[in-house]
Amino acid sequence: MLILTRKLNEKVVIGDGIVISVVELRGDQVKLGIEAPRSVKVFRQEVYEAIQEENRRAAGSAMELPGLQLPS
């Protein structure tokens, strides 16, 4: 892993068209600005991993479904 030290408002450029800036530092939180082509999907890792994990559980579901009484 490449590790770079950056200060507030400094940036990192990745390849062609991806720029990551340090926008704010507050306590143990860092706010990042990400500029990337629309074709590059950017997710918070925990969101992506949570959905992936739930998709796996969904795929392992029992196929029998409980009845659901819906308001008409």
Binding site: I51, N55, A58, P66, L68
Partner: protein, 146 residues
């Protein structure tokens, strides 16, 4: 066309039931073609892979139990799915029925957005912290009625 399914064995499906997910579902990127089938119990659907019979998901319309649900679809996704207005999109969420028993939950953090006309779909992660991966469908339905 005839496809092999997890729930029903071999069945005939209409071309109009076939959906293409160009990027697959998260964690299942290899599988891009699915058939949307009515499940035996309303209001659920099955999303059945046309390539792998044992790969099927249960789907539900999230608005049935969360009238306040909202999905943020960005311009790039709208364009990719051929959406010109919100009515052009079908929003469905994946359901987990734990084989060991327990609450049946729906994933509102990663809804499926499907173009009704294009029959193209994508899983669209939502940043809104209200939407989790496990919404207890029965409990939220009961809360909505209370």
């Amino acid at each position: 066309m005839t496809i092999a399914t997890k729930a029903f064995g071999e069945i005939d499906v209409d071309e109009r039931q076939i959906l293409e997910f160009p990027e697959g579902l998260i964690g299942f990127q290899k599988f891009k073609r699915y058939a949307l089938l009515d499940a035996p119990q309303k209001p659920y659907f099955y999303l059945q892979s046309t390539d792998l019979p044992e790969l099927a998901f249960i789907l539900v319309d999230p608005f049935l139990f969360r009238a306040d649900y909202a999905v943020d679809v960005n311009d790039e996704l709208s364009a990719a799915l051929g959406l010109k207005s919100p009515e052009d999109a079908l929003i469905l969420c994946l359901v987990t029925v734990p084989p060991e028993g327990g609450a049946v939950t729906a994933n509102l953090m990663g809804p499926l957005v499907i173009g009704k006309a294009s029959r193209l779909g994508a899983q669209a992660p939502q940043a809104d912290p209200r939407w989790k991966t496990k919404h207890d469908i029965m409990a939220e339905l009961a809360a909505a009625r209370a």
